[in-house]
Symmetry: C2
Subunit: 145 residues, 2 copies
DNA sequence: CATTTTAATGCAATTATGTTGCAAATATAA
DNA sequence: TTATATTTGCAACATAATTGCATTAAAATG
């Protein structure tokens, strides 16, 4: 079985992106976490390995290519998670619900929970739906009890 | 029938807030619009009538008291709308869908569209739901046709 | 109505987040 | 190995938001 780095390199090539250190590092970090990762956290972890501007540009490129998707938490902070397969440059196919824990502040992609269709008033044309649930995640509600 | 300003003054008193010019002005502006109002717009309209910091503090106080609610648009910008009745200091009772138009960028409170209940994975405890639909609003989809 | 009390405002400084232009570096194609 | 096209880093800038503190003003009190 091919290792993670090899997979990431192929992913970059497939999307016409050059195999660079900051890009591989971002993929490394994101893939190693069980929840969406905030921009500030990424910035902190990458430290001086990459300039702040580079990080923003890496994230933007990945988002455009459908490699990651952005989720804003309740404070408006950008969080990023690796996309499920099937997302591409011009369409993200992962309209799942996101869960923002009030306690640990993690954002989980609830890949199995799809957003139900909506009946909107006449005239409105819905393109995308974005649903964020807040409350306590499985970990935190355990601890509280 | 009592006029708007009188109503606003009562609203402030009821919530233990002093009747000040910046507060009345914010209520005036918000109530005169058909969609949620962004912080930058408010700042611009109020001009030098109130310091930027005061505006932030007015909005925060109103939100805490359940007088207005905040909606983040797709860029993470804060937008504010007056709450429906029944919202209070510690509970907002207006979990309706919000619609963010891709064209005019307005955010509409779809008061009549409630967010459907969700089935989440075991362990997760949902407190609040926050659903933003994007697409074209009634006005803009008219114009396009 | 004058005075006291308490809440709210304005200002200055600071932090966080995100963007742009451009020169230098580097990954990859030739 | 060289050429090219992309990517990076740096500097400067823009905007959003927060904090501490002195001053002002609203409302409560007598
Ligand atoms: Mn997700
Ligand atoms: Mn609303
Ligand atoms: Zn949690
Ligand atoms: Zn519109």
């Amino acid at each position: 079985m091919e290792n993670k780095t090899e997979r990431f390199e192929k992913l970059l090539v497939k999307n016409g992106l050059k195999r660079t250190a900051p890009r591989l590092q971002v993929l490394e970090i994101l893939s190693g976490r069980d929840s969406a990762t905030s921009q500030p956290y990424l910035e902190q972890v990458m430290g001086k390995d990459a300039d702040r501007v580079t990080l923003y540009r890496v994230l933007q490129a990945f988002e455009e290519k459908g490699i990651i998707h952005k989720v804003l938490d309740q404070q408006g902070t950008a969080n990023y998670a690796i996309c499920s397969d099937g997302c591409s440059a011009h369409e993200h196919h992962d309209e799942h619900v996101h869960f923002n824990c009030d306690n640990c502040h993690k954002i989980y992609c609830l890949d199995t929970v799809k957003i139900p269709a909506l009946k909107v008033p006449a005239g409105f044309k819905v393109e995308h739906l974005n649903l964020i649930a807040t409350g306590l995640c499985a970990n935190c509600s355990d601890k509280v009890n």
